[in-house]
Symmetry: C2
Subunit: 201 residues, 2 copies
DNA sequence: CCATTTTCATACCGATCGGTATATAGGCAT
DNA sequence: ATGCCTATATACCGATCGGTATGAAAATGG
């Protein structure tokens, strides 16, 4: 994070990080295609030319919002992998997801889930990006579970990749239920049930 | 299904059921908001005035498409409840979902999942409808699992409502993964893993 | 044969979409 | 003070959105 090199010309009157954070909220509630430039600029408190000068265009803005989302909201995913046992990893992942989904006003799915399911039209660049990020995080989870299996932390018959896919599916399904109006209590119950299903060594 | 009462005036040149089926395909791949009237009319082989005369408007068309979807694609849900055991119910639900998602060209989520997650803008009528249908199907599943528990078909500590929510989440997560480019083999593996997790009596 | 009724094809409607041209305002360095 | 450079504000762009007005075409009832 180097300081601004020089400030030539009129200084901008908004904080790009604050604006990006506001854009993220809009994308999160509306999805990529559902978020209009009018909504975005109003939430960000800037005009369209400022948005384009600072962020490029709507698509570039979304990619930057995804960066911020991973950095701010999905950081629990990395720290979850530090749990001592596979069971602990699963529980941290589930509880972290629960916290994100129920943190705002009303529960909603992960932004990645929304983008994967919703983006259909010409937004293959968006979808490709989201899928790549998901694949990277899946890879880390699989590696962690492989280590767990080597440490005797998973039953012998359990394939790490398979259980990673399974856990991811439950987490994504939680997001769908959140989008469908599930209450925080229901989502927490889902976490409990999933943990009760987790295989014992 | 009464026959057409009388045919006065110029007869229509298309089959409404075929047109509706084509519209369903478009909605299923594009989502409600992502499907444009241009795409719809082209796929249906009719013009916009014909669409509006026959189906009302885009929203009414979607509701009718949802009816058709439930009738044609989701019928396995009802028959799954006829399985003799709770485990059989779960397996039929999972395999039925797998079949639907991998039946077309490339895997995709259930239309209900797409609609719940994606519809954000003014389409609360759409979302309300989808959520109500989901609630109805959830209710049937819960009742079936309650019966299973009464029959000693579920472990004592398992709450029917909780495991119904859990199973629904896995199924919805399967849809998200299908949207995210999962292969049929991966989806089948997810079914296997979920079944391996299913509690034993 | 004609009037009526309904559908079809075309062209059009206002609103909104993402994106920009233009001109003004506000900071630096000289 | 004067250029110079950049951000701002406003108005505008073509394209597309969902939805319709209009008139011709195709069937029936009389």
């Amino acid at each position: 994070m180097a300081a601004e090199p020089v400030t030539r010309g009129r200084p901008r009157e908004f904080d790009p990080e604050e604006a990006l954070s506001a854009a993220l909220q809009v994308f999160w509630t509306r999805g990529y295609e559902g978020a209009s430039l009018a909504e975005l600029t109003e939430a960000m408190g800037i005009t369209k030319p400022s948005l384009y000068a600072c962020f490029g265009n709507k698509e570039a803005l979304f990619h930057k919002a995804l960066d911020l989302y991973e950095r701010d909201k999905l950081c629990y995913m990395r720290s979850a992998l530090d749990a001592p046992t596979a069971r602990g990893v699963a529980e941290r992942l589930l509880r972290g997801t629960l916290q994100i989904q129920t943190g705002g006003s009303d529960p909603r799915a992960c932004l990645g889930v929304i983008s994967m399911v919703a983006c259909t039209t010409q937004a293959d660049s968006i979808k490709t990006d989201v899928i790549a990020r998901r694949a990277s995080s899946d890879k880390a989870l699989v590696e962690r579970l492989e280590r767990a299996k080597a440490e005797g932390d998973l039953p012998a018959g359990v394939e790490p990749a398979a259980i990673a896919t399974y856990l991811t599916a439950v987490i994504q399904g939680m997001g769908v239920q959140a989008s469908g109006g599930a209450t925080p209590a229901q989502l927490e119950q889902l976490v409990e049930t999933t943990m009760a299903m987790w295989p014992t060594v």
